[in-house]
């Protein structure tokens, strides 16, 4: 459990550094390191399928972000906004943290999850039908409609990106 705590602290420090550093390219690289730390954390939390998906998604995201940061910006854009935004940010942070304080006390204790729905799923699972990976068989057996919605969202995003790129070329 100690290695997980160390990894999470490293991730928090990395997130703060990535947002506060001035060079855009190095902050993109720190975001990539954060994603790799996240995938190692998934392995420590016994979710290896998530770790693999996170690794691939992180590499694609790095390519997209580096494409955006290659563009040279002539203006100096490391300044902050006016003070009015500062008060908006602080007040929303206070509201969010006070809500989180009341909600987190209602959660189950760490290490002992509520196992009601999952127990019903796991009890009736057909082992011989879909192989020995429980995550894949749950996704393709009980949750297949959610996977359908996820795929629709992915294709709509791809169509949006293609439309935007094509529209720029014509102008």
């Amino acid at each position: 459990m100690t290695e997980l705590v160390v990894l999470l602290i490293v991730m928090i420090i990395g997130a703060v550094v990535a947002l506060e550093i001035k060079d855009l390219l190095s902050s993109v690289v720190i975001i990539g390191a954060l994603g790799l730390c996240l995938s190692v954390g998934f392995v420590l939390l016994k979710a290896p399928d998530l770790a693999m998906v996170q690794l691939v998604v992180e590499l694609i995201l790095m390519v997209i972000l580096i494409r955006a940061t290659v563009i040279e910006d002539k203006h100096d854009n490391n300044k902050k906004r006016e003070n009015a935004y500062f008060f908006v940010v602080i007040s929303s942070l206070v509201v969010f943290l006070s809500a989180a304080f009341f909600i987190i006390r209602k959660l189950p204790i760490f290490g002992k999850p509520i196992f009601r729905i999952s127990y019903a799923y796991l009890k009736d699972l057909n082992i011989n039908a879909l192989g020995s990976n429980i995550l894949a068989s749950l996704m393709l057996d009980w949750r297949v409609f959610d996977v359908f919605g996820c795929m629709i969202a992915l294709f709509v995003a791809v169509i949006c990106v293609l439309l935007l790129v094509k529209g720029k070329r014509k102008i």
């Binding site: 939390l45 979710a47 854009n77 959660l107 509520i114």
Partner: protein, 94 residues
């Protein structure tokens, strides 16, 4: 959200995405739990909770799609206004 650069704003949404994913997986973790694989020495009642892992698997994919669309829109705005600064974007007049 105090930044002016639009790429930094996209990065902040990515970091929020990561934190939500870690929170969901942590909420389903069981101490000394087994992997989600059927085998002889894995007890089915001592496993990690699979429901948050399925939700996070979809959240990762949808997050990738959303971030790709955001970066494409940011590059399009740069080609139109020639800056990444969101406060200077709407002051440009031809």
């Amino acid at each position: 959200m105090m930044k002016k650069n639009i790429i930094k704003l996209i990065m902040s949404t990515i970091i929020i995405n990561y934190s939500i994913q870690v929170f969901f997986v942590l909420s389903g973790y069981k101490l000394q739990g087994d992997l989600l694989v059927f085998s002889a020495d894995n007890n089915i009642l001592n496993m990690v909770d699979p429901i948050p892992q399925i939700i996070v698997l979809m959240a990762i994919l949808i997050g990738l799609a959303v971030n790709a669309v955001l970066v494409t829109i940011a590059i399009g705005l740069y080609q139109k206004f020639e800056t990444f600064d969101i406060t200077k974007m709407f002051e440009v007049k031809e």
